[in-house]
């Protein structure tokens, strides 16, 4: 089993970018080592031949759970907005997307 190559700083920054997490240089370096060590550890799974194994994520065998499509009361607007950091006229207020 080959040892996993260590993540580069660029890769760490790229993943942080995808995950929308701001990182400073110090964090990037620390995460580079920590994430590399963990990826190296989990790569142990590559030892196993899974060519004939189906992936499994639903363990209890439930499929397609249906219910009647009925209209039910929902939370009132003021409650939905209760935890919003910024709101305006009954809406969530969002920062500008473009300059």
């Amino acid at each position: 089993m080959n040892k996993m190559p260590k993540l580069t700083s660029e890769q760490v920054k790229h993943v942080a970018e995808l995950a929308r997490i701001g990182l400073d240089e110090k964090e990037t370096e620390r995460f580079k080592d920590q994430l590399s060590a963990i990826l190296d550890f989990v790569s142990k799974l590559q030892e196993i031949d899974t060519s004939k194994t189906q992936p499994l994520s639903q363990t209890t065998g439930l499929k397609n759970v249906f219910r009647e499509d009925l209209v039910k009361p929902s939370l009132p607007q003021e409650k939905v907005l209760l935890n919003a950091p910024e709101k305006y006229n009954g809406y969530f207020k969002v920062k500008p997307v473009f300059d």
Binding site: E27, Q34, I38, L39, P55, N83, P85
Partner: protein, 505 residues
């Protein structure tokens, strides 16, 4: 502020009883309430009194709702006074891990990103417990979002082990286990994704049940890994867990993954013994690396099961050594998706200096998430990203299938399995905090069952020379909760480890 509130309440209200309440079971309490030998107010005051006296040291609670709890107790006492029928858990004080949405009561997931979040609805399990007359006294500390095995990853405080204040209480539900062990409430509603109920229960010398996936509704519980998360209970006895499970188990329209299998009377088989029970001992759980004191205690427990009439058989779960990587890759991939919702817009921490939407995301998440949360989101994002999906996420799901097949095979010949919960005793605060991988490895014996969706019951079985608790777990096939509880009850009938208390007040 909260502490002062409790102090005032304790000054203003007198106990009506001088009974020692710490050893009573839920069943006994119900009888005493009906016989008017005890009031709901006594029960709530007793819990508040312990919080007041002990929690400065333990730091088990993040929020205590003393006023509300006392109001509810008074309502129950009114029903008692009028000789009305009482609901099944009338007057029983309990706590909940801070991932359970509680209407009007701050719910933080122990993360700064939700520091001031106040839910506008109750989680289904909370709603059902309230309807059954149980009284929520507060919310307990844990590793943020359930990410950890020591409660040190909480963004707010470090909970201490009630048996030794220099040691961790385990995690992630460390506050729940420490609270129950110290008599602050009769049970705690908690959540187990990879051991978060069983390991802290073991470290604090109490009983903890992780249920079959889908047996209890996850609606209103802050998500970690949605295909692994299960809601369960920490309590001081199997018999109390049986009483409470009956209330919270069952189908919930709001959680499509809940099972429609009927909810049995979980108490009815308690006391029936376990003659003829086929109990498997999986060899991989007893190999090198396990503390000899833990091994000795569990060997003794196995002997005791044999004496109770169980047939002890060796068994093998060959994929055990791959459980940690398979579990973590599944879990963190789901984390990266589940935690995408913390965007600084609808709720939670928001960086008010951000100039545009993009920087709002980056800065809110940078400041709101702690290091372990960032690590898991980033690793999960990596495992799901183009070019790595097959090697990581898909591979983990395939190995997950092999792990489940391991258990399926073992349960063809065994009714239940017995195994350690943790390879080592509660460790020192700070000991593993700097090495994330070492912390992950602490879960070696607990993460195995979550990928298979099966239940496990952790029970105390002794103490090490340094007075730290030791525990084991019974593992059963899906929906075997009645048998798990029956076997756990039989063990607790002939042992008194679960009755020991860490601190005197």
């Amino acid at each position: 502020m909260l502490q002062k509130n409790i102090t005032d309440i304790l000054k203003l209200n007198r106990f009506l009883t001088d009974m020692d309440l710490s050893d009573l079971t839920i069943k006994q309490i119900q009888e005493k309430l009906k016989a008017k030998q005890l009031s709901a107010k006594d029960l709530v005051l007793d819990s508040l009194n312990r919080i007041e006296k002990l929690d400065k040291k333990l730091q088990a609670f993040l929020t205590v709702i003393a006023d509300q709890a006392l109001d509810q107790a008074n309502q129950i006492d009114k029903l008692i006074g009028q000789n009305k029928d009482l609901p099944a858990l009338a007057g029983i004080p309990f706590s909940a891990k801070d991932v359970f949405s509680t209407i009007g009561v701050k719910t933080t997931a122990c993360s700064k990103i939700l520091e001031s979040y106040i839910p506008v609805y109750d989680a289904t399990a909370i709603k059902e417990l309230k309807q059954a007359g149980a009284i929520l006294i507060g919310k307990t500390n844990h590793d943020a979002f359930g990410f950890g095995s020591s409660t040190e990853n909480s963004d707010f405080k470090v909970t201490r082990n009630p048996w030794d204040l220099t040691k961790v209480p385990g995690g992630s539900s460390g506050g729940s286990a420490a609270a129950v062990a110290s008599g602050m409430g009769l049970f705690s509603l908690a959540e187990d994704t990879g051991g978060s109920i069983r390991q802290p229960a073991c470290f604090c010398g109490v009983t903890g049940l992780k249920v079959t996936y889908g047996r209890v509704s996850r609606y209103g519980v802050i998500a970690y890994g949605s295909s692994l998360d299960t809601i369960g209970l920490i309590s001081r006895s199997v018999s109390d867990i049986a009483c409470v499970l009956e209330i919270i188990a069952g189908k919930d329209e709001a959680d499509a993954t809940t099972l429609s299998a009927p909810v049995p009377d979980y108490s009815q088989n308690l006391g029936k013994g376990i003659k003829g029970l086929k109990l498997g001992v999986p060899e991989q759980y007893f190999e090198n690396g396990i503390d000899p004191e833990i091994k000795d205690s569990i060997d003794l427990a196995i002997k005791q099961f044999e004496n109770l009439g169980a047939k002890i058989q060796k068994t093998s779960l060959p994929y055990t050594k791959y459980a940690i990587p398979a579990y973590y890759l599944s879990g963190i991939s789901e984390v990266s998706a589940n935690l995408a919702r913390y965007d600084g817009i609808r709720f939670g921490y928001s960086d008010d200096k951000a100039k545009d939407l993009e920087s709002l995301y980056f800065e809110s998440r940078a400041a709101g998430f702690g290091p372990e949360v960032k690590r898991r989101i980033m690793l999960g994002t990596y495992a799901l990203s183009a070019g790595y999906y097959d090697a990581y996420y898909k591979k983990a799901q395939q190995v997950r299938n092999l792990i489940k097949q391991d258990f399926d095979k073992a349960f063809e010949k065994n009714d239940l399995l017995i195994a350690p919960v943790s390879p080592f005793l509660p460790f020192a605060i700070g000991e593993k905090a700097q090495d994330p991988l070492q912390m992950w490895l602490a879960d070696v014996f607990t993460v195995t069952i979550n990928p298979a969706g099966i239940p496990g019951l952790a029970l105390p079985c002794g103490f090490a020379k340094n007075r730290l608790p030791i525990g084991f777990q019974l593992i059963g096939p899906q929906l075997s909760e009645p048998l798990l509880l029956q076997a756990g009850f039989a063990y607790q009938e002939i042992t008194d480890w679960h009755k020991r208390s860490p601190m005197e007040i």
